[in-house]
């Protein structure tokens, strides 16, 4: 199981899913009605490290963060 957190304005509670790669996470999230439309705008981190590889493999207990468009300052 891995945990998926939705940050900032997405406003959705964390979920736990079974996934071995980010590609599998993608597949599952695309089916979530309230999240799928965010995905094209969101970056991804695994255990607080930004990741840009869809084949990145996950292990049990990993934390995946979904980061929508930012505007600090």
């Amino acid at each position: 199981m891995v945990k998926v957190e939705f940050l900032g304005p997405i406003g959705k509670a964390s979920i736990e899913i079974e996934a071995n790669t980010l590609a599998e996470v993608s597949k599952i999230l695309k089916e979530e009605e309230d999240i799928s439309h965010w995905l094209s705008q969101c970056a991804v981190a695994v255990n607080d490290v930004m990741i840009s590889d869809l084949d990145f493999s996950l292990k049990d207990g990993d934390k995946i963060s979904i980061l929508p468009p930012v505007c600090g300052g």
């Binding site: 940050l7 900032g8 304005p9 980010l22 996470v25 993608s26 999230l29 695309k30 995905l39 094209s40 705008q41 969101c42 970056a43 991804v44 981190a45 607080d48 490290v49 930004m50 990741i51 840009s52 869809l54 963060s65 979904i66 980061l67 929508p68 468009p69 930012v70 505007c71 600090g72 300052g73």
Partner: protein, 144 residues
């Protein structure tokens, strides 16, 4: 890296940073202070921050600064910040002015684009996500 609930005490932070580095032999100290502007009927802005990734982002900048003999500092507000008060201060210290002038620009721009902070307009006590002013982070769209 400093995070505060509500508006920053800019004078306190500026003065403390000045003192912290007063013996470090830096010739240039350039802070950038961000203040909430009154516009479009907002009462202020509000911010969410994801601390762990902000810390990683900031650590990378500390390394970049170190390779140039410089130092970076930053503080940001969490939650509501009324208009005419400040939500952000970042600063570069360096021995020489060119490094500091170039780094404050790069640091502030990268902060804007890649620090995990979300901004909301505050209107009548309600938060409205600032969609139009927000930027997808590097690598956005991976899961789409």
């Amino acid at each position: 890296m400093e995070l505060y609930q509500g508006p920053l005490d800019i004078k306190e932070i500026f003065g403390r940073w000045l003192e912290e580095e007063s013996r470090a032999n830096y010739g240039a100290y350039i802070p950038f202070v961000g203040t909430i502007r009154a516009e479009e009927g907002i009462d202020g802005l509000s911010f969410d921050i994801y601390g762990p990734i902000l810390a990683v982002w900031f650590e990378r900048w500390q390394e970049i600064a170190k390779t140039k003999g410089a130092k970076v500092k930053m503080a940001h507000a969490v939650g509501d910040v009324p208009i005419h008060t400040s939500s952000y201060i970042a600063a570069v210290f360096s021995p020489k002015r060119r490094v500091a002038l170039e780094m404050i620009d790069a640091f502030v721009e990268d902060f804007k684009a890649n620090a995990p902070i979300w901004k909301y307009d505050l209107v009548d006590g309600k938060r409205h996500y600032a969609t139009d002013r927000s930027t997808p982070m590097s690598g956005a769209g991976l899961l789409a």
